[in-house]
């Protein structure tokens, strides 16, 4: 079975990572920022699995599964924070979070 070589995966993962990173940096809604972080983590997962296949070692897949669990943990905490803020009727916009200032 001839499929795309590793370069294709690396480029795809890199693009995905960049999109996610841009999302984190440019978006102001914390929910979308969290989603963008998920994209970043997923891009790393794609890379790990592709390399795992390239090297014929399964530890990359193991790594990827751990990352999924970690990503889920981050989401739990992140959503918990967002809900807590939502309850206090804080506008969900990171640029408008200006309680903390010098």
């Amino acid at each position: 079975m001839h499929g795309p070589d590793i370069q294709w995966y690396v480029i795809l993962a890199g693009l995905l990572f960049s999109i996610g990173a841009l999302g984190v940096m440019l978006r102001r809604n914390p929910l979308i920022i969290l989603l963008s972080v998920e994209i970043m983590l997923n891009s790393a997962n794609l890379l790990l699995i592709a390399f795992s296949r390239l090297h014929g070692r399964e530890d990359g897949q193991i790594f990827a599964i751990s990352v999924m669990a970690v990503a889920a943990s981050e989401v739990v905490v992140g959503l918990g924070l967002i809900v807590a803020m939502g309850r206090r009727h804080v506008e969900l916009d990171v640029d408008k979070l200006r309680t903390l200032r010098g």
């Binding site: 499929g3 795309p4 480029i11 989603l35 994209i39 699995i49 970690v70 990503a71």
Partner: protein, 180 residues
């Protein structure tokens, strides 16, 4: 012919993946973003399958599609729609578009350069057996070489669960805000 099919599947999945990721970061309504992320996850799962990661692909769909996304959608529903009906309301400003184009061009260039340097072919790995990426193989590794990682993953989840409980408790009326 099989090769051709693989390429087609790959391109479709990769395109879907990029498109949905772009959609996630560009929708202004988080509800649509979350939906797009599901598409992103699904297309990634397809790619994982192409890479003999059956177990990971299944995990991806179960953990993300099943748990994480549901949480997201619940939270979005709970908080209510605060950003208007249209997914494109407001629209990105010109500065942001410019920044995205400039930054994206640089990043894409880096990705391509780095990617082209990656050597090796995925095509003829004799050492990849049918068992590669299967639940048994993964499970065995998790309980032997990567036992520590396995245990720590569960600890991280536990910490996050405690955090979720703490953060989820109800707010109290308070008089003075000591740090703000």
């Amino acid at each position: 012919m099989a090769d051709f099919l693989v390429w087609v599947v790959w391109f479709v999945a990769a395109f879907a993946c990029l498109a949905s990721a772009l959609a996630v970061v560009s929708f202004s309504n988080p509800f649509y973003s979350a939906l797009s992320l599901i598409g992103n996850l699904a297309s990634l799962a397809v790619l994982f399958l192409l890479l003999s990661g059956e177990f990971v692909a299944a995990g991806q769909l179960l953990v993300y599609g099943g748990a994480v996304m549901v949480m997201f959608l619940f939270v979005i529903a709970y908080l209510g729609d605060r950003t208007g009906e249209s997914p494109w309301s407001g629209g990105p400003s010109w500065q942001i578009v410019g920044a995205v184009l400039a930054g994206g061009a640089i990043l894409a260039e880096v990705c391509v350069v780095v990617g082209m340097q990656a050597g090796g072919f995925l095509t003829k790995p004799q050492h990849i057996t049918r068992a590669f990426g299967s639940p048994e193989a993964i499970g065995r590794l998790f309980l032997t070489d990567h036992l520590i990682a396995f245990e720590v993953t569960s600890i991280v989840l536990l910490v996050a669960a405690v955090g979720g409980v703490v953060l989820g408790s109800h707010a109290r009326k308070i008089e003075g805000d000591a740090r703000t």
